[in-house]
């Protein structure tokens, strides 16, 4: 015997306890649970942002952005750290982006079902789990082998960060390249275009927006890494913008060292540490906004 149809009268005036009413009540409960779970997940993030802002803003000042710690007793700023972060991250991206994107191109366009492709995918997945200190030690060991122990260079930090970035860039680029519809490649082949030209002039431009987003995700992942940079780039007080020339400070290590070894004026040091953390978050936010703008400007509607 089929259940009676729900007429408007039935639905709107369902008495408590009836199947219709129970369904609606269950719906409301589930909605509340899900919304609550979302709020719970957002709570640590919002509280963190609030804390960092609250403690970091007092440390912000013109001095913070323009002077380095060189020669400063109790004062000084983080200009050297900001420059260092930007340089080290920039070089890391310059290393990992070409490698990552080209590996992704191999995996999607040329790999097919070959064994090399399966092994590559496996190792890339393993690499995404490498602890950052391991990447730092790898870079340290590599440069120690070549240049002797005790060397500290900005580019060593970049190499360590690149090791961490490459698997992320590969994975996200691979996904984006897979989404490029095959009929665009076919249209290009049908015009008598060789495969590499098709990739360079049709596939990559179509995937451009997604590739940029993937790179931004990778940058956001590594920009706050402290451990690998501690062992590779060292701690230094003056501005150094040459990655091949000696120690370089960066925001993550700066925050750590200001907190760990505060100067004469403790509170000022702590303030600067928090301000450095706030600056890092701000940099990531700016990069994210830029990435979104690029995505919106360049995304292609593919069917």
């Amino acid at each position: 015997m089929a259940a009676p149809r729900d007429s408007p009268a039935t639905l709107l005036t369902a008495p408590a306890g009836s199947p219709v009413w129970r369904r609606k009540a269950l719906n409301r409960v589930m909605t509340a649970i899900i919304a609550g779970a979302f709020a719970l997940a957002m709570l640590p993030l919002l509280s963190l942002l609030f804390e960092v802002a609250k403690r970091g803003i007092p440390g912000l000042s013109i001095e913070f952005f323009t002077t380095s710690a060189r020669g400063a007793i109790g004062g000084g700023g983080a200009a050297h750290a900001i420059v260092g972060t930007l340089v080290i991250t920039g070089v890391a991206a310059a290393i990992s982006v070409p490698i990552g994107i080209m590996a992704a191109i191999y995996l999607t366009e040329y790999g097919g079902r070959s064994r090399l492709r399966r092994w590559l995918t496996f190792f890339v997945d393993v690499m995404t789990g490498i602890p950052s200190i391991v990447a730092g030690l790898f870079a340290f060991a590599l440069f120690a082998l070549i240049f002797g122990p005790g060397v500290r260079l900005g580019v060593m930090g970049s190499v360590a960060l690149a090791v961490l970035m490459v698997p992320i860039v590969i994975r996200s680029s691979e996904e984006v390249l897979k989404i490029v519809p095959n009929h665009l490649r076919e249209a290009s082949y049908a015009l008598g275009t060789p495969k590499w030209r098709t990739i360079a002039k049709v596939v990559l431009p179509t995937a451009f927006a997604g590739l940029v987003t993937g790179v931004m995700i990778a940058v956001a992942r590594i920009i706050g890494e402290t451990a690998p940079l501690l062992v590779t780039t060292g701690v230094v007080d003056s501005i150094n913008s040459n990655p091949f020339d000696g120690r370089m400070q960066n925001l993550a290590v700066y925050a750590y060292s200001e907190y760990r070894t505060p100067g004469v004026m403790k509170q000022a040091s702590y303030d600067r540490a928090w301000a450095a953390a706030l600056t890092l978050i701000a940099i990531v936010m700016i990069l994210n906004v830029v990435a979104r703008l690029i995505y919106r400007r360049y995304k292609t509607e593919t069917r």
């Binding site: 249209a187 290009s188 049908a190 008598g192 179509t206």
Partner: protein
């Protein structure tokens, strides 16, 4: 000059058949007297097509004549699209795909050892079922894609002339001449398909293959494309796969009927002949059954 078919076979059996210098599009586009260019014949002989171990199309021998429209009809899955794609060496792009037999363009075997598939595809163009203009390119760049993607050295003025000629040839010029820099995807379905046709003829192929070009279009757009095909045949050799028998009857001169006896068996070419004969008095029973709608 192309030899007779026997000579061609002997030559290709003799080993390395050098790639014939195709009538590549010259850097200065030919004037409107492109009508002087001869359309070429494309022939299949004992062609067998495989996807890995699966035998998809069996022993096809037919000629696609110049300055005529040849329609390939048949029920779903009978191998017509597979056959069409083997004519411009797109079939082998599928992993595991294999070709046995011979396809000759103007007497030269395109599957001979040493022949570059990329060159073949410049000579044999293709228009696909769903319009697929390049989304990152403007209308102008889409039409010129055949030139741009191959880094052909060509002066801007000459490229403009090629684009205009192709768009006029595809009956799209009047509609888009004021917005050539807009993206290709901003056009309607029928316009996009005409854009794809313009793109295909911009490189002046010898043969134009069309895989169900109207199946994604409304009747008005379909009529426009069919009229266009009727005009293009004066310059090109055209083969078109179609599911729509009425379209084949309307738009083609020669019809080839492909059939599948049962799933799992390879598709075969059952009968080929003048369109009027095929539709009124075909020789094979299977053809008669299909065109009168008893199956398919």
């Amino acid at each position: 000059m192309p030899g007779t078919t026997d000579t061609a076979r002997v030559r290709s059996e003799a080993g390395q058949e050098p790639v014939p210098t195709p009538q590549a599009p010259s850097t200065t586009p030919e004037p409107a007297a492109a009508e002087g260019r001869q359309a070429k014949t494309i022939e299949a002989r004992n062609l067998n097509l495989f996807y890995g171990d699966f035998h998809a199309v069996e022993n096809v021998t037919m000629t696609i004549a110049p300055n005529k429209v040849t329609a390939l009809i048949g029920s779903s899955g009978c191998g017509k699209t597979t056959f069409l794609r083997s004519l411009n060496r797109m079939h082998e792009l599928n992993p595991g795909a294999r070709v046995e037999g011979e396809v000759t363009l103007d007497g030269h075997d395109i599957y001979a050892r040493g022949v570059d598939p990329v060159q073949v595809r410049r000579l044999v163009g293709m228009v696909f079922q769903s319009p697929n203009p390049f989304p990152t390119m403007s209308i102008y760049d889409n039409v010129a894609a055949g030139l741009n993607l191959n880094a052909t050295r060509i002066k801007k003025a000459d490229k403009d002339a090629v684009v205009e000629r192709s768009l006029r040839g595809a009956h799209l010029w009047e509609e888009v001449k004021d917005r050539l820099d807009k993206p290709g995807s901003s056009l309607s379905g029928g316009q996009q398909q005409r854009l794809c046709i313009a793109r295909a003829i911009a490189v002046e192929p010898e043969v134009l293959l069309m895989d169900e070009p109207c199946s994604a279009l409304d009747p008005v757009a379909t009529l426009a494309i069919e009229d266009l095909i009727g005009e293009l045949k004066s310059k090109y050799t055209i083969a078109i796969v179609t599911h729509n028998m009425q379209q084949a009857a309307r738009a083609s001169d020669i019809t080839a009927f492909f059939n599948l006896e049962e799933t799992g068996r390879p598709g075969r070419l059952v009968e080929v002949g003048e369109t009027e004969t095929i539709f009124t008095s075909p020789s094979e029973q299977a053809t008669e059954d299909y065109v009168s709608g008893r199956f398919g």
